[in-house]
């Protein structure tokens, strides 16, 4: 009888623990969105921020975040693709491959602040790129590469070897087989992984404060020549992102409405991450369907 009672008690305890975890998430999301929602309007999303007075928006930061995300993905995607292809298709099991895998694992577990500091030393100081979008994108690439490589490798691994044999038997090279048959077949899961990593990159701040910088100079949204200093596309300008903005105004903000601005920014950040999450699932499934059914 005693064992039965313990069993019931324990089950109850497990339900409670899991329930608390769910409640934490519900509270977090509810709190952020309820506090942030009143701030959200077109003006808030589009106007530049103000350092000392109330009423600033997050327009430039939002743009910076998106631009940085795109640049980061453009740099990290080809590298991660190449690396994962080598790991999954060419690397022979052995000491060297194991060492390489361990190195990638180490990179993926490095604190992002360390990645940021490295980016500061290499890109900002050594390469003389100063605090700029480009420095930030390179640092985020370092931060993003190990996970992206792993997720693409998993996607490649999930494609049956029959497909590889099929390509080889037709006199195609491994490279052609992988890039033209295996990769397209793996696109649904690669896209899911890509979007999820995009969410991570979008919310990252620690790797950026000493690479992309903590200031958001005014931009001229009429000038799309990347070589002009106030063009939004200029990769050499410093660019505070949304995530950095939240950190910045909370740790040293002097604007009177910093709490409202951060609530709004946090809500935007969360909503974007949520959208990325849903998009990853939906797009992955959609692409998979398109791939397997008659078009």
């Amino acid at each position: 009888m005693n064992a039965k009672r313990t069993d019931k008690l324990a089950t109850g305890l497990l339900y409670t623990l899991a329930g608390i975890v769910v409640l934490i998430l519900v509270f977090l999301l509810g709190y952020i969105i309820l506090r942030g929602l009143p701030q959200l309007n077109w003006r808030f999303l589009t106007t530049p921020s103000r350092a000392f007075t109330a009423g600033g928006g997050i327009g430039i930061q939002l743009f910076n975040s998106l631009y940085l995300l795109i640049l980061t993905m453009m740099i990290s995607m080809p590298i991660a693709l190449g690396a994962s292809i080598y790991l999954n298709e060419y690397a022979k099991p052995g000491k060297i491959t194991n060492t390489v895998r361990t190195m990638i694992e180490i990179l993926s577990s490095l604190p992002s602040v360390v990645v940021g500091l490295f980016g500061f030393l290499l890109f900002v100081v050594q390469f003389g790129l100063s605090f700029s979008i480009l420095s930030g994108a390179l640092a985020l690439t370092v931060f993003n590469l190990p996970l992206l490589t792993r997720s693409i490798e998993d996607a490649l691994k999930s494609i049956s070897n029959d497909q590889r044999n099929g390509g080889l038997a037709l006199g195609l090279s491994k490279w052609e087989t992988v890039t033209k048959i295996i990769l397209p077949a793996a696109v649904p899961s690669i896209v899911s992984g890509l979007i999820l990593s995009a969410g991570r990159v979008f919310g990252e701040a620690a790797a950026l404060i000493y690479t992309a910088g903590q200031s958001a100079p005014a931009l001229n949204f009429a000038d799309w020549n990347p070589f002009n200093i106030d063009s939004p596309l200029n990769p050499m300008r410093p660019a505070e992102t949304l995530a950095v903005h939240i950190w910045k105004i909370n740790s040293e903000g002097i604007m009177p409405d910093s709490s409202a601005v951060s609530a709004g920014s946090a809500a935007v950040l969360i909503i974007v991450v949520l959208i990325f999450n849903l998009l990853a699932r939906w797009l992955g499934r959609l692409l998979f369907k398109r791939l397997t059914s008659g078009s």
Partner: protein, 263 residues
């Protein structure tokens, strides 16, 4: 008359030889999967490779167009058009265009039916639209698939049935107009009706192609092949006219195998 340990047929001079292995040994690490295989593959005939699981027949087949590169260690010679294929000077990619292969499980690419056939052709430099279309049609006709798919060439090949997929894989292989077609248990994943269609297709193909087929299905070997090689524990122990192999085997082990007596 089952007194010999080993019997290999002598072809008469008129029979052209498409492929010949000499003293072929194949190793997986320390394990010798094939030893001393000497086999002549007659041109424009169907040669069946039979034998119990683990006898090395698939390993042997996969070595013929060097699909075992990087997997197994192949020693010995494979002669094709007076060239030893098992040597460094051979460009494997060009070679595999001449010696195609179809696998156990149908493996159409996740592309349209048409692209499955044009894909490799385009990669090999064929760009002319007209020519490509013709190849699609002839290869599908040769594989006896044309009538079933001619109205849905642009649909995904993954929607085809197992038997259709396998015939598409054959069409895909013969679209490259190879000399030799290697088939590794191509019907083992198919139902009886699809198997029958496939067999008919193969018999029709032998007018233009040399075919080597690995099969577990002895009646199939008896039905479609002209010559049969029996593999046992890594050795070719009997290679003879199919009719003779199945009616009066020269080697006792072959007799045991085809009568199902493994005792």
């Amino acid at each position: 008359m089952q007194t010999e340990d080993r019997y290999i047929i002598d072809f008469d001079e008129n029979q052209e030889i498409a492929l010949e292995t000499k003293d072929l040994h194949i190793y997986y690490g320390d394990f010798e999967a094939i030893s001393e295989a000497d086999l002549k593959i007659p041109r424009f005939q169907i040669t069946a490779l039979i034998g119990a699981s683990g006898s090395g027949k698939s390993t042997f087949l996969r070595s013929l167009n060097r699909m075992n590169d990087g997997i197994a260690d192949v020693k010995g010679e494979i002669w094709y058009r007076d060239l030893n294929l098992n040597s460094k000077e051979i460009d494997v990619y060009a070679m595999r265009r001449q010696i195609g292969m179809v696998f156990q499980r149908p493996n159409p690419f996740p592309k349209s039916i048409k692209e499955n056939i044009t894909f490799a052709l385009e990669r090999h430099g064929m760009t002319d639209k007209q020519e490509l279309e013709e190849r699609v049609e002839t290869s599908l006709k040769q594989a006896a698939l044309w009538d079933e798919v001619k109205d849905k060439l642009n649909q995904s090949a993954l929607a085809l049935s197992g038997g259709q997929s396998q015939r598409l894989c054959i069409a895909r292989a013969i679209a490259l107009q190879p000399d030799i077609l290697l088939l590794d248990e191509p019907a083992s994943a198919l139902d009886p009706i699809s198997t029958a269609q496939l067999e008919e297709t193969l018999v029709n193909l032998k007018e233009q192609y040399t075919i080597v087929i690995v099969t577990h299905n002895l009646p199939q070997a008896a039905r479609i092949s002209d010559y049969t090689a029996h593999f046992s524990k890594g050795h070719v122990i009997e290679f003879n006219d199919t009719k003779d192999t199945f009616t009066q085997p020269m080697v006792k082990l072959t007799n045991d195998y085809i009568t199902g007596d493994f005792g």
